[in-house]
C-alpha cells in the first residue's frame, strides 16, 4: 500500500515535470495553417523544414550559443579563482566578501539589467562607440553568472583537506603544479556544476539581455518579439531539437560512465 502511494507520487511529480515538454514536442509536429497551439491538424514536419530555412531564428540561436559558451567559460575561470581567494581569507573579510557576491543574486534581474545598461551606455559614449552589442552582452552575462560559480565551487574547497596541498608541496611539487594535480581534481565537480549552471542561466536569460543587447539579438528576445502575431511552432520544433540533442548527449555520457565503472571494477 505504502509502495503504491510512493509510486503514484513519483509518477505525478514526473508528469508535472515532463508534461509541458511532451505537449511542446507533440505540437511541433502539428500540421496547421494558422500556427495553432491548441488544435491538432495532423502530423507534419513543416515546422522543422521552416525552422532550418529561417535565417533569423538560426542567427539568434547562434548568438545565444556563442554568448552562453563564452560567458560560461569566462565566469567559470573567474569564479573558481575568486572562490580560491575567498576560501583562504580570514573570517570577517570572507563574510563581507560573500555578502557582496550574494547580493547580485537576490537583486531583481530588472534592476541588474537597467543598471548595467546605464553603465554600458555611458561607458560606450566615453569610449566613442556607437552601440551596445556582443561585447556588452558578454560583460553582462559574465557578471550575473559569477556568483553562481563561486557558490558552487566554495563548498568543494571547504570540504577539501587543506593539508593535501601542503603535502604535495612537501613531496616536492611546485605550487602551480600542486594546484593542478591536487586541488583542481578535488574541486572539479563544483567547477562543472558551476559551468553548467552558468551555461543554462546564460541561454535562458531574457531580462538582462533585453536591456544590454543593443543591436544584437538573442533567441529569447527574438521569440518575445513574435508575440504581436503569434509564437510560431518553429519555436516548438527548435526546442524539440535542443531537447533531443541534450538527451542523446546525456545518454551517451551515462553509457560511457557505466562502461568506465565496469572496467575499473572488473
Amino acid at each position: 500500500m505504502k509502495k503504491a502511494g510512493a509510486r503514484i507520487y513519483t509518477f505525478l511529480i514526473f508528469l508535472f515535470l515532463y508534461a509541458p515538454i511532451l505537449v511542446l514536442i507533440v505540437y511541433s509536429f502539428n500540421d496547421t495553417e494558422t500556427a495553432s497551439r491548441t488544435v491538432w491538424g495532423g502530423f507534419s514536419l513543416r515546422w522543422y523544414r521552416k525552422l532550418f530555412e529561417d535565417r533569423l531564428i538560426l542567427e539568434a540561436l547562434c548568438n545565444t550559443l556563442i554568448i552562453a559558451v563564452v560567458s560560461a567559460a569566462a565566469s567559470t575561470v573567474l569564479g573558481t579563482m575568486a572562490a580560491i581567494g575567498i576560501n583562504s581569507m580570514k573570517r570577517l573579510p570572507r563574510r563581507i566578501m560573500m555578502n557582496i557576491t550574494n547580493f547580485p543574486m537576490v537583486n531583481p534581474e530588472i534592476v541588474t539589467g537597467v543598471s548595467l545598461m546605464l553603465l554600458f551606455v555611458s561607458a560606450v559614449r566615453l569610449l566613442g562607440g556607437r552601440s551596445l552589442g556582443m561585447g556588452s552582452l558578454f560583460a553582462a552575462h559574465i557578471t550575473f553568472c559569477l556568483p553562481y560559480v563561486i557558490l558552487s565551487v566554495l563548498p568543494k574547497l571547504r570540504q577539501m583537506d587543506p593539508n593535501l596541498y601542503e603535502a604535495a608541496q612537501d613531496l616536492g611539487c611546485p605550487p602551480v603544479r600542486a594546484f593542478f594535480k591536487v586541488v583542481l581534481p578535488e574541486i572539479m565537480p563544483g567547477i562543472v556544476t558551476g559551468l553548467i549552471m552558468a551555461f543554462t542561466l546564460s541561454i535562458d536569460d531574457f531580462v538582462i539581455s533585453y536591456f544590454t543587447s543593443g543591436t544584437t539579438q538573442t533567441l529569447p528576445i527574438y521569440i518575445y518579439s513574435m508575440t504581436r502575431k503569434r509564437i510560431s511552432p518553429e519555436i516548438n520544433a527548435l526546442s524539440t531539437v535542443l531537447f533531443a540533442v541534450v538527451m542523446v548527449l546525456l545518454i551517451i555520457i551515462n553509457a560511457r560512465n557505466a562502461k568506465d565503472q565496469k572496467r575499473s571494477e572488473g
Binding site: E33, T38, C62, R228
Partner: protein
Amino acid sequence: MMKRYFIHFNLCVVLCLALCLFPVQTVLAGEAQALTVSDKEDAAPDRGITINVYNWGEYIANGTDGSPDVNEEFTRRTGIRVNYTTFDSNEALYSKLVGGGADYDVIIPSDYMVSKLIDENMLAELDFSNIPNFQYIDERFKDPDYDPGSRYSVPYTWGVVGLFYNTDYIEEEITSWSALWDDRYAGKILMFDNPRDSFAIAQFMLGQSLNTTDENDWAEAAALLKQQKPLVQAYVMDRIFDKMESSEAWIAPYYSGDAAILVENSDSIQFVVPEEGTNYFVDAMCIPVTSSHKEEAEAYINFLCDPEIAGANMNYVGYSTPESAAKAYIDQEMVESPVHYPSDEILERTEVFVNLPESTAKLVDSLWAEVKMGGPGESIVLVAIILGFLGVYIAILVYKRRKRKRELA
C-alpha cells in the same frame, strides 16, 4: 573523475559548434532562392557597411515557405549588409531608442509612435531623391495625419481593426461594436490588451475622436469599458488565435492583417468592420536622427518600396500594401479579400492614431489601469493578502519565541 567531466564539457562545445554551423548552410540555401526574384544582376561587391534595421517580429519575407529572403536580396543587389532585429511593441522600440546604446538606421514604428518621435525630434528628415520608389505609394497614404507632409516616414503596411466572430455560436449578423457589450456572449468576448486599441472601440461607440484631448471624453470611454469588463473573458493579444480557433471565445476585435488567416482557414469565422467606424493603422519606415548610414538606410527603404519586393513581403506577412502597383505580385485571393482591402466606403469611416499630449497619455494610462484592475474592491483584496502574510509571519515569530522560552524553562 576528471576525465569524465572533461568529456562532458567537450561534448557541450561540439554541440554548440555544430549548431552554429546551421546558419551557414541556410545562407547558402537562401541565395539560390533569392535568384528567382531578382533581375538576375550580378551580386554587388561588399561595401563594408552594415545597417541596423529594427522591425516588428515576423514582419518581412525571410526565405521560408518559398518566400524570397528580402534582406539577403538587398545585400546582394547593393553590397550593404543588414543586421536585422525585431521588437514586440512600439513602446519597446521607443525605450530602446531613448535608452541609448542602440544605433538603428531603419525603424518601422506605427502611426502614433511616428508622430511621437517626430514631436520629440528623434527622426531624420528623409531625402526623397534617394527614395524614387516613393512614387508607387498611393495618394491616400501620402500626407497622413501622423506625419503631415510625409517628410519623415514612408508607409510599409496598413490595416484596419475589425471584429472576428464565430458563426457557429453567434447567429445574427454583427454590424456594430455593441456586440462586445452583448451579455448573451458573456464570458466569450475577448478584448485588446493595450489601452489605445481598447479605448478606440469604446470611443467609436460614443462617437468621439480617437485623438481627443478632452478629459471627460476619456472618462466616459473608461466607464463604458468598465461596464463591459464582467463580460470579457480575457484581455489578450496574440492568444486570440488559439482562443478563437478552439471556440474558447466567440468574438474578438483584432488587426485585419494578422487575423485574416483565421477567416481563411475556418468556414465559421467571419470578419466585419463595424458601422460606427474603426481605427486604421499604418506601420511606416523611418530613420532615427542618430543613424550613421542615412544614405544606405534610404536605399533600404527604397528597396522595400519596390513593388515586387513589397508584394513578396505582403504575401508573407499578410498585411495590406500601400502600393497599388505591388498588388500584381500578391496572391490574387488576398487582393480580392475584403479583410485585406476593405472597400472605400469602409475606409471613409476610419481614423488613424496620432500622438497624444503628455497629460492625456498619462490620463489614458491611469484610466486603463483602473479598467483592468477593477475598482477599489480589488485593492481591498490586495490589502487582505498582505495582512494575511503579515499575520502568518507574526504567528511564526510568536511560536518561536514561546518554544525558546519553554526550552529555557
